[in-house]
Symmetry: C2
Subunit: 514 residues, 2 copies
């Protein structure tokens, strides 16, 4: 068979794969499957997590990759096969829209938000240069200005960008701070002599901050935690003291990293006092507001982020408390020009000298991604559809439920809340009668084992953490349809699995002593 005939046949197969009517049929099937799935998930009657051991799940995933496929011209058979694949995805994923999902800082996203992202995926809208994604670039720009105004910047002298997640956002901002503060490190490499530059961080800062120091060639050993106050917040007086000592030694400071809020218990730093200290010492203040930035939308909780507008750089994850699908993280620079300090390069085939004014709109000059997904369609879509009141609602209802849960825990004799929550993150321990006198290590280990039993049962999905060296249970109420009764049921489920765990531990102890 000659090359041309072969190519003709190939082209026919491609026409079938790109057939808009196949897309239409498959798309309608998908929408009904998803709508049914959401409706069922919200009733809280199935397993939140359909637990399956990883090797078995990988085997299942692989099985489809070598399965016989329908004839490419058979649209109905393809649509049926498509539906089977979607059903498998839905049956084997974590059900974040179940009100009993009270887990990580990843939300039950607003469902239609995912549709806007889907439009971007089907049409493959990307950025790097403006003319590659004119609308994706434009909505990102519009959102940067809107969110900047929520932060409290009235003049458009700030700048911002979207990137793929909070870790990458922290890295981007700290890279910029490093380049601004350490001069020629971009071209010549990190420090060649003298004292190592340091980053001063909230003692509970997200692990991506320490990682950033490792990535940037600063060294994780040069990340200095600032001692916290009694609410696990960065203590401005201790920060001041550390900065004074560093200045006395003439040791360079890349940045101070404060949190709004810190991950473990959701503690919000006193940003006004911290920014006063940073300004006095002339150091870069970066605020990780990945979770708490959304408080800017709520008159009731806005006080938590007072002073945020005084930071030099800020990150804010829309895929956390703005309830859009992952990943959509914002980086902001108070001084807009800093956005061009992140890199100092050009790529001639990308940035067009025939249209010099456009470079201002070329995302590739400012983000680690070159080709960048249109990550902000979901946010633009739900904001445009429901108005910004939506974000106020989402913050108010979930933050207030944090308090509701705390009060339930405090009132129960067999639960111990470990802090008063400032937002929707609550850390606690289940302390049944037999463990009341147990050492904290044993009690902590019990929480971790209990959590594993609980999530593998499918009854609830929560997470665990380590607080002051011992395990604890942790929830983030990040589904607006999680109601007080679900929290009561969570406590009952913990009691049930806790008792079973105690029993099995007892019987193991008995067996062990035989």
């Amino acid at each position: 068979m000659g090359l041309n005939m072969e190519l003709d046949e190939t082209r026919q197969r491609m026409d079938a794969a790109y057939d808009p009517e196949l897309f239409r049929t498959a798309g309608h099937r998908m929408v009904d499957l998803l709508a049914d799935h959401l409706a069922q998930t919200e009733t809280a009657q199935r397993a939140v997590l359909p637990w399956c051991n990883p090797p078995e799940n990988v085997l299942q995933a692989d099985r489809f990759l070598e399965m016989a496929v329908p004839k490419i011209a058979d649209r109905d058979a393809l649509a049926n096969h498509f539906a089977q694949l979607v059903q498998t995805m839905l049956a084997r994923g974590l059900n974040l829209h179940d009100p009993r999902y009270i887990g990580h800082q990843v939300p039950a996203s607003v469902p239609v938000g995912g549709l806007f992202d889907g439009v971007g995926a089907v049409t493959n809208q990307v950025m790097a240069i403006y003319d590659m994604g004119p609308w994706a670039t434009s909505i990102e720009r519009a959102l940067v200005y809107r969110l900047g105004r929520q932060i409290g910047w009235s003049e458009p002298t700030f700048s911002g960008l979207v990137t793929h997640g909070g870790s990458l956002a922290n890295l981007t901002a700290l890279l910029t701070a490093r380049n601004v503060r350490l001069g020629d490190v971009w071209e010549r490499g990190a420090l060649r002599s003298g004292l190592s530059p340091v980053i001063l961080v909230h003692a509970d800062a997200h692990y991506s901050v320490t990682r950033s120091a490792g990535i940037l060639g600063l060294g994780t050993g040069h990340v200095l935690p600032v001692p916290p106050d009694d609410r696990r917040r960065m203590d401005p007086n201790r920060l001041d003291e550390m900065l004074r000592n560093l200045r006395a030694k003439n040791q360079p400071v890349v940045a101070v990293v404060a949190c709004a809020c810190a991950t473990p218990i959701g503690a919000f730093d006193p940003l006004e006092a911290i920014s006063d200290v940073c300004r006095r010492h002339d150091v870069w203040l970066h605020v990780d507001a990945a979770h708490g930035g959304a408080a800017c939308f709520s008159p009731r909780y806005r006080h938590l982020v007072a002073g945020l507008d005084r930071a030099d750089s800020i990150i804010w994850d829309a895929h956390k408390m703005l309830f859009v699908p992952a990943l959509c993280a914002f980086v902001f620079y108070r001084c807009g020009a800093h956005q061009f300090e992140t890199f100092r390069q050009d790529a001639p085939y990308l940035f067009d000298p025939a249209a010099p004014g456009l470079a201002e709109y070329d995302s590739g000059l400012r983000t680690i991604e070159c080709t960048k997904r249109a990550a902000a369609f979901g946010l633009w879509g739900i904001w445009s559809l429901f108005g910004s009141q939506l974000f106020n609602d989402l913050v108010d209802i979930t933050f207030s439920m944090g308090r509701v849960f705390y009060e339930k825990l405090a009132a129960a004799p067999d639960f111990e809340p470990l802090h008063e929550p400032e937002c929707n993150i609550v850390v606690f321990r289940y302390v049944p009668e037999p463990l009341r006198e147990a050492p904290v290590e044993q009690l902590g280990r019990f929480q971790l084992d209990l959590r594993r039993r609980l999530i593998e049962s499918g009854d609830f999905y929560i997470v665990s953490t380590n607080l002051n060296g011992a395990g604890a249970l942790r929830v983030t109420i990040i589904n607006p349809r999680t109601e007080p009764e679900h929290l009561d049921r969570l406590m009952d489920a913990i009691r049930k699995h806790g008792r079973a765990l105690l029993d099995s531990t007892d019987s193991r102890a008995v067996q062990g002593s035989q």
Copy 2:
């Protein structure tokens, strides 16, 4: 109004925003709008790029953010508003599915691929730890093994991961190489004394490689280009010479970065010879196969990547020549254990000591993203739906069209192809009669101005580049429905806009001399 009553009202608004029936109605509207859009786009009758100046587009995007929104209980009004938003997105985006889109290395993705990504977005499936995204983790793992076998690794001793784009993939692999090769740099920071470590790169390596050096604290000034051969490929003899000189000085080498293929003209490096040199000198070989990795699927073009399996690390973008929506980039390590050298940290609330075997499946230990989008659903979906023959087809048809276009250009007296294409990337100049004797700088500038006119007209979308210091036109045939007749029409469109540009330049010159 009391807090409880307020919260009740808020909860009612949330019920409406999360209503599965609103989702269903909106979803079906979206599918029909997209199917109609695809059908119309494929007929190649609308503007490929609906050009609009950035400030005007940003204003339009912003307008929706402050528009009055429907009452949240009015499902029909919301669905209508939703449809209007989707229509706006479609009307203002770049139409990659138009066969006259022959632009960047970003494909007209297989449309149903975007639906699989849409399922992930609506249900917000993410990773970091296994139980957060059990199915997302499993399909990623299955695909890593399948692609690894395509590369040529028969034993499962390799490892891999998915990240958000080729730039981040290069950064991840080079970070790993840095940590493996430079010992304690992760904790102690980059070099404190001695000669600076260097990275040896293909002279045309993607800008993200140099950026990586800047990010990692190695310094962009320590990226050394290896002189190319006459086909713009890395010359193994020159590489050998450079490595010998570096060894003589005892200067550390972080990695050698080869390309399959390099961006400018799509040149594939002789990987077998290069890997021989690297092994002889015991240096880490990284291959940027973002674009060309897909050749592994094609018996006809596989020879281009012979030797790829001998690299220490490889990147391969599925969102390029595997035709899935952005972003879905793979990183591979030949020695699987290297995946844990990227970072050296833990986050207790993420990685569960109660289930130690699971950490092997926790993506957060290996990727710069903490929360990571389920970026591989699109690839898993179209592979499962159409079988791997799809990828063979896509490579064969687009690579062969590169040759077809080259022959057309070579046969035309007014076009000058600047290289013989190895794949679907072709760089050329339009050289009309009046410019035949023009200096190359003037000719180059003419190409850039011509390209801008062409894309703003909406007639075609191609890109420009800089080759040996002067502008040139560049196409990537990355839509399988771009046929030879579209390429004829492209040449005619270039002639038309070229003549208009010459005329306007002439008239400006006349005006200038008046």
